[in-house]
Symmetry: C2
Subunit: 464 residues, 2 copies
């Protein structure tokens, strides 16, 4: 842990290649540091500038009067080996190299990258990159990236990404959801030195991080990764995006970060063994994070589907089962409770179609509440998926979100997820009503995916 302090909680940061020109990477780096409220020392390095954004600029890293924990290099590839040499002499602890044009660009770039490593090794200075967008550590208000961010919401999710541009887009995407907050973000790019395994080891005991999102294209050391990930997964869930499954994608990966994508079959088995939660796109990251944040661990994979529509219930059942969940038989108690409030012709099972009961009672909120309570106390049920037509809230067919949210008592004894189907503009009201209590999903597919990953993770924890 202490070893990573100069990276994630540095006393001082140097920006080599700091620029006075707004819009340039070397300018945004300094601006982001200032704006984000980083309280350590900031040293802009630019031989032609006196000061940048009100900060005294230095001609070279050697001229900085104090120790430098962390430096970021926003200069072209060809001058980097020399600057790395200077940083090593200055005993900089961590170095972020932004520029591309190294190992991913063929033999000359590979030689350049080798030289960088060689020059860094003399002082045990660690390198992140090259070919990255930078890093974020919200605990230290450290926003050290040339990507334009306005504010970064603090939270407990750490992101480790292989590639910078992807990481930037992912951050913007995920941070646009109000329930998503960040502890750390770092991209590894060509990963000439610092590896994903070392970062995972660090995150194991990082008190600010409870969920990890990992985007990798290849592994620096497969065995070490597996050992670390297996151990870390027992403590904190790891959501993983890994591509290069097809030959075309695998070739693309090698040509842009120099990594080897490796065999999909091996990865797939290894991820499963290590308890990693694999997803395919950023929306799926969003869905799984939401479920993990707001749910107690389920005791099994048996789901009760409560629905306003037989058709929607059948759909949800298919999607749940196809994702490995069991749409379980309900206990007699649950069935008789809901049958007692349904019309006499209604025969109930799972999915639990409460539309006739709502129609009879004229009070959707009450009927949803009764069904949820019955499922919560049903010993055959591990998780509850609640389908709601949010666009009927004008009339009595749908529950009033604020009232229904009020009936849910925390802490939950079983995961409950709501699939809120209907007009997208009504979704926000639902999300706000249940904010911090129950995860809300816009489709059955997203809800089934989230519950299946929750069950997958819980099963790994129980059995490892």
């Amino acid at each position: 842990m202490r070893e990573f302090k100069p990276l994630f909680d540095p006393r001082s940061v140097a920006v080599i290649g700091a620029s006075r020109t707004p819009g340039k990477g070397g300018h945004i780096l300094v601006a982001n540091l200032v704006k984000s409220g980083f309280s350590g020392a900031i040293y802009p390095i630019n031989p032609k500038a006196e000061e940048i954004l009100g900060l005294k600029a230095y001609c070279s890293i050697k001229d900085v009067p104090e120790d430098v924990d962390l430096a970021v290099l926003s200069v072209p590839a060809d001058v980097i080996p020399e600057i790395v040499h200077q940083c090593a002499q200055k005993k900089v602890r961590y170095l972020l190299i932004i520029a591309g044009g190294f190992a991913e660009g063929g033999e000359p770039g590979k030689q350049l990258q080798d030289k960088v490593i060689q020059n860094a090794r003399v002082s045990n200075m660690r390198i992140i990159g090259p070919n990255i967008i930078g890093m974020i550590s919200t605990g230290s208000n450290l926003l050290l990236t040339f990507a334009p961010f306005t504010t970064i919401r603090k939270g407990d999710v750490a992101i480790i990404a292989q590639t910078g541009a992807f990481c930037g887009a992912a951050l913007h995407y995920l941070l646009s959801f109000s329930d998503f907050g960040l502890s750390k973000s770092i991209d590894l790019g060509n990963r000439c030195d610092l590896s994903e395994s070392e970062l995972l080891e660090y995150l194991m005991c990082d008190p600010q991080t409870h969920i990890i999102v990992l985007h990798i294209e290849g592994l620096a050391d497969g065995r070490r990764f597996l050992e670390t990930a297996s151990l870390l997964s027992r403590l904190k869930p790891i959501i993983v995006l890994k591509f290069g499954r097809t030959e075309v994608a695998s070739r693309a990966i090698t040509s842009h970060t120099g990594a080897l994508a490796g065999s999909e079959k091996i990865y797939s088995a290894a991820f499963k063994q290590a308890g990693l939660l694999r997803v395919d796109d950023l929306d799926e990251v969003e869905y799984v994070v939401r479920a993990l944040k707001l749910s107690p661990p389920p005791h099994g994979n048996r789901v009760c589907i409560i629905t306003f529509s037989g058709g929607a219930g059948a759909q949800a059942a298919d999607l749940c089962i196809e994702k490995g969940l069991v749409v379980t038989g309900l206990s007699e108690n649950t069935i008789s409770k809901i049958e007692s409030v349904s019309p006499p012709w209604m025969r109930l099972s799972n999915p639990l179609d409460i539309w006739p009961a709502i129609d009879k009672s004229g009070n959707a909120t009450k009927t949803y509440f009764e069904a949820i309570q019955a499922a919560l106390s049903d010993i055959n049920v591990d998780m509850i998926m609640v389908l709601v037509n949010i666009s009927y809230t004008l009339v009595t067919q749908s529950p009033v979100p604020e009232e229904l949210a009020h009936t849910i008592e925390l802490p939950l004894t079983k995961p409950i997820a709501i699939c809120a189907i209907g007009d997208k503009s009504d979704l926000q009201r639902f999300e706000e009503a249940f904010n911090g209590k129950i995860p809300i999903y816009p489709t059955s597919k997203s809800c089934a995916l989230a519950l299946s990953k929750l069950s997958e993770y819980s099963s790994y924890r129980r059995n490892s």
Copy 2:
């Protein structure tokens, strides 16, 4: 066609069970008809009312002085056979039966439903339902449903659904996207008489409908459906949602509309043979409709992926290939065009990573334009998927959406789809800039799905 005029373009509509109490189904039905601007005659039927919403009410359907083309029944199941009898005598042409509690509820309900059919047959009156939410025909401003809608956007998509509550939620969901417009919507419920095949036959020549969305749980007549769907698919794409793939869902379907879900294996093969585009959820309907509306038919399944990130490109390649597309080798001309604007170390292939070229030129819009033009004239490319980081639009790394949209000339010679990744709040600007020109998607997965369905449909049309 003429046969369906009294259903979709009736001269007069009777609401049997019309109510004076706001919030009740029988009230919303009349209110929706009035609000939507239906220009035909409206006859509320209520023995206890003089008038409802300013319209003269009648004691019974028999008392209506004029012919009634279409009647909707908003009364409980047990009195329905008698009212059906009265409607048949009145020579009503089409009858919508809202109530549930028929064949889906076991033997007594089945007997009730049989009686309904029997009573209707004497006059050749056709029945839609029972167990439905009603219908919409935008060409006649006919909003005949108890579901609360404010306005329905006119357009060229027809929806046929098996189940009402699902149909209502689907309509609300789809109509919340500004590029989605409706021609007709109808749900069949227990489908005691009018079948999906008859409606598909009608839609074949309906000038207002160009895309069909079909939600079915079972088929009234498998052979007739297949013949009709195969023929209709050659003219207009049919997107299909069909569940009951698992045993649990199949049982759920039988218990809520009395339909038999049938064998998934047979359905899957039949859908393929008939050119149906099968999807799994409403978001997928949205994505495929958008692609179909805005794209010329592709000549094959070879896609060129233009990307701002090698990592995002690899992901898109995996997702496209896994959906049956080919991430093709690009022509030498395309490669050399983009290599000439890239840094010397950059080696290009497909996915076409233009980040280094953008970084070099400092003009993302121009670089995206050049790459799109090259792909448009590349004989190895049938479709173009463009990945954009929308949250970089503050700086030079991303294209300015309005400027890029301006460079796209219509009509397109090949499908182009943009995957706009990043802050969700920036998505709207992108969507507005490209509105009516290019379909915009929020994830790679959704974009790959849409392109794959486009290719699937085009291939069916070429080979049938």
